[in-house]
Symmetry: C2
């Protein structure tokens, strides 16, 4: 497994990889959710490139860029075990060299509401770095976790709008046995906070259960989700929402694809989760 | 020569073209300047794709989108004669389908000052449509006229910043015998305006002559350029400028690559022109 740090080396090495080629873009701090992306890519493709880059431009000024977990040695061992052919691990001067001024912005749905509102500039950073990685690597397929559902919708929108020649695949969220969605940020949680963090998946299961029981009034389901958070004193609800999975506009008519989404703070840690109302909750 | 209107047809046809492949993006209303782009591409490449698309997003609300000359039949005959292998002539619903919200913005030099200031949103429209065309066609090289020097610098910036895998070539401006740079907008000029329009190239020749004579004070050269416009009652000077060809920041130390740039209105028509101070003015 090659580990490369410059775009020029990357392009030369990618040119020698058998096609089809999958890309798994990550910010490192790899967990079983990332490994599910790797499994999907290696199953579908003859070659897989993984990238590791903590992209500063998608963090807000008050966010956790400086303390975001960095575990490069362990990440490389996991990617080697997962049969990555090549790891691209650039530093910031390679991704944003002096004079860099071009940005990809998503100026409408799905980059409105929810994460877009709470994290100004976040999706501009995501859209730009994902466009760059896709154009640096030139994969046939790229894999993203459904856990960041709005990010996935934004990436699909950018790829469609800018005609980037790649197929985007969303991979189901991987969960702990008690339901907590895997996230690199879970390491921030104290033991008590870790126990409280199950509130996110509980709220989503409640939404699914009410939908399965025939409830079709969005307001009723949103109330049930919020009630779960009121019962958990360590969790500070940011939003509970029902949204269209493509546009992220508020769901008016609920169906199996409608996403239930939650975000909350637990102590200093902000966590998000989501599920399709008609999905099976693992 | 194939003429195609959809991205899917285009991609399928491009996949069958021998490489290397050149792209000549145009807004139609083709003149000898565009033909120089075609000549450069067919000399360098085994295949050439030309595109014809009047991109609404690069016109301001008070600009000439609706009256911009459209001469498709004549354009196709010229491209056929110039040995284009394929012409891509999409309509707006193919380029900006419903739900389109992703834009490429150049948020700093070279997209500051001069055209960026006079035409808010213009370079966002240019950057977005050029990125789209490059990603739709996937050429090895793309050709742009040096007449739109700031546009050329913006395109180079976007290609570098977003890692679009293509080489950008600037092709020298083609001029009428009296010096007027060819432009699709020259057809707007009345006979008297057409005569007055030589003021742009005269001002540039004056700048070159003073530089060749040893003048190195930007202000002195700018004054000489402005004086040419004061002598031409039909021309309303917008700017005369000396700028770095990559960043379009004001030139402090003049050298052969420094660009002299002018923009003016003649009647209802806005015209621009430029030359390198050390260049040979054809």
């Amino acid at each position: 497994m090659q580990v490369l740090h410059s775009v020029n080396e990357l392009r030369a090495a990618v040119a020698r990889l058998p096609r089809p080629l999958g890309l798994v873009p990550t910010m490192g701090a790899l967990h079983a959710g990332h490994m599910a992306l790797m499994t999907a890519s290696t199953a579908d493709n003859r070659s897989t490139v993984a990238s590791i880059y903590v992209n500063p431009s998608q963090f807000g000024p008050r966010e956790d860029l400086s303390r975001y977990p960095r575990t490069l040695e362990a990440d490389l061992a996991k990617l080697e075990a997962a049969a990555a052919d090549l790891v691209f691990a650039p530093e910031t001067p390679e991704m944003y060299p002096p004079g860099f001024v071009s940005w990809v912005s998503v100026e409408g749905p799905p980059a409105e509401r929810l994460e877009a509102e709470r994290r100004p500039g976040h999706f501009r950073g995501v859209a730009t770095i994902v466009a760059k990685l896709l154009l640096q690597v030139g994969p046939d397929v790229a894999y993203f976790g459904q856990k960041d559902a709005q990010q996935l919708a934004v990436v699909r929108r950018v790829v469609t709008d800018l005609n980037i020649p790649v197929r985007i695949v969303g991979v189901p969220t991987v969960r702990e046995p008690d339901g907590l969605a895997l996230s690199s940020r879970n390491v921030y949680l104290s033991p008590a906070e870790r126990r409280a963090a199950t509130v996110l998946s509980r709220a989503l299961r409640t939404a699914q259960a009410r939908y399965a029981a025939g409830e079709r009034d969005p307001e009723a389901i949103l109330q049930s989700m919020a009630a779960e958070f009121r019962a958990e004193p360590l969790a500070d609800l940011d939003y509970a929402d029902l949204a269209d999975p493509d546009t992220f506009q508020p769901a008016v008519q609920l169906d199996d694809r409608t996403l239930a989404l939650v975000a909350c703070r637990i102590g200093a840690t902000r966590l998000i989760d989501n599920t399709a109302l008609g999905g099976t909750h693992s």
